[in-house]
């Protein structure tokens, strides 16, 4: 028989979640209602907003610019990351410039993006692209640089050249790092999605937040924050799941 100990996570996690919610509930009830909504009110509000369609409709259109920007970033950043990872001269030459641009907070580019792409869909896509691009690029570049040399040498000694080398040796060896980049990138994409909706013309989930914020409706604010966080977690889990399903050979090796 398995003995249940005090430090069993199966026991501690529910205690943590319900304990935390209880503390929040008690604090919220002692404060003015407009300041901090209790979790029961947040749960109720979330249920209502899903039921009346406001969250599902907003989420569906939020996902459009998120996915568009993310896919564009993947298409540009992955090949560039592989190239930079493979060519030491190229990466030494470009690293200072890339690191410098990366050090600028992406939101600070928003006035530019508004001038170039406007306040609507294109502007939001551009921000998502910008925020994902560097994250994916840095991860892919770092990973490709660290590919096991033996693997590449084996490919060369078996006369793999050009495209054959790329498809059969380089790409499979890079895939685990590409997936790391994709997973970190999707988290950034969700951040960028909500940032864009708050800083460009307010639409979708961002509009829900602005309207609830102006009305001091913290229950609705928490409901939207919760939806955005869960979306981020689902995105990362999905990429992680794809990674484990597609790259079975890699996970078998490191297991």
């Amino acid at each position: 028989m398995k003995r249940i100990t005090v430090n069993n996570p199966h026991l501690l996690y529910p205690i943590s979640i319900f304990g935390g919610l209880a503390v929040w509930e008690i604090i919220a009830r002692s404060l003015p209602r407009t300041l901090l909504a209790p979790p029961t009110a947040v749960g109720l509000r979330l249920w209502e907003m899903i039921g009346d369609g406001s969250i599902p409709v907003a989420l569906a259109s939020s996902l459009q610019h998120m996915l568009a920007g993310y896919l564009l970033a993947v298409l540009v950043a992955v090949p560039l990351g592989i190239a930079l990872g493979r060519s030491p001269s190229l990466s030494v030459a470009l690293d200072p410039v890339l690191n410098a641009i990366y050090a600028i907070p992406s939101v600070a580019f928003i006035p530019f993006l508004i001038v170039w792409f406007g306040l609507y869909f294109e502007g939001r896509v551009a921000l998502v692209f910008l925020m994902c691009f560097f994250e994916i690029l840095m991860n892919v570049q770092q990973g490709v640089r660290d590919i096991d040399r033996g693997l590449l040498d084996a490919g060369h000694s078996l006369q793999a050249r050009g495209l054959t080398f790329f498809w059969l040796v380089l790409l499979p060896a890079s895939l685990p790092f590409i997936f790391t980049g994709l997973r970190v990138g999707i988290g950034r994409a969700v951040n960028a999605m909500i940032t864009a909706e708050l800083f460009f013309a307010a639409v979708n989930l961002g509009k829900l937040m602005k309207v609830s914020g102006n009305a001091f409706d913290t229950a609705s604010l928490f409901a939207v924050i919760f939806v955005v966080s869960v979306l981020g977690l689902i995105g990362q889990e999905t990429v992680g799941w794809l990674d484990r399903r597609l790259l079975t050979w890699h996970h078998r090796d490191i297991a």
């Binding site: 030459a93 600028i104 530019f112 001038v115 969700v190 909500i194 966080s229």
Partner: protein, 253 residues
Amino acid sequence: MSEKRKWTLRMVGIGSFLALWEVMGRLMGDALFAPISSMVAVYPSLIEENNMLVELAKSLQHLIYGYALGCVVGITMGIAMGRSKIFEGLLQPWVSMLFATSIASLVPLFMILFGFGLAFRVAIVFMSAVWYVLLNTFHGAKGINPELIQTGRAFDARPAQIFFLILLPGLYPYILVGMRNGLAHSIRAMVIAEMYVIVGFGSVVFNTGLEVSTAPLLGALVTIMFVGIAGLESLRWIGRKTAPWYEAEKGHP
């Protein structure tokens, strides 16, 4: 690759970027994308008329409050979670959830909770830094080689000695990586919060963004870039100076 060749390549990279910026800027015009020469020309007025350095100093002061608080709380909670299964179990679900929460989505809520002033900015910066410091410290504390601690016990070390002489030096590289990630995210979060409520350095970015010419906006961007690089490099320098074993750095991404 020799050091000399590396430096040549870096100079070529930076030089061609600056040249490209100038050429693109002249082709596109100040309204769309100002060349570097226009930016340099307006930079003094950015300091005099937009009070950029004064606003930046105020913002950085608030950033340091929030960041320092985040480091203290993150390190304490990280060690507690790494060394005690009970703390780990009790805090893990909330830490994972809050780590996944986008800072931008918290801004409207924090405005209601904390107003527009000092507390608001400190809270936003705190929330952006604390989880990176915490998770890195946690992974470091969890991975400390138990043999080191057993050796300490065998030599009759007191718990305080084990903590300060074995645990902290082992954790130090992890804490520094966490503090570096935390600082990078703090700067981003500060700009997000300040651009939303239009105060401090964020107001400089916002206001220069409204001008016809993009030259002052580029000046603000270049300034925050140098601030970020200087902050991260000084943390790296402190790491190398205070802990030579730091070179074997590891960390939670």
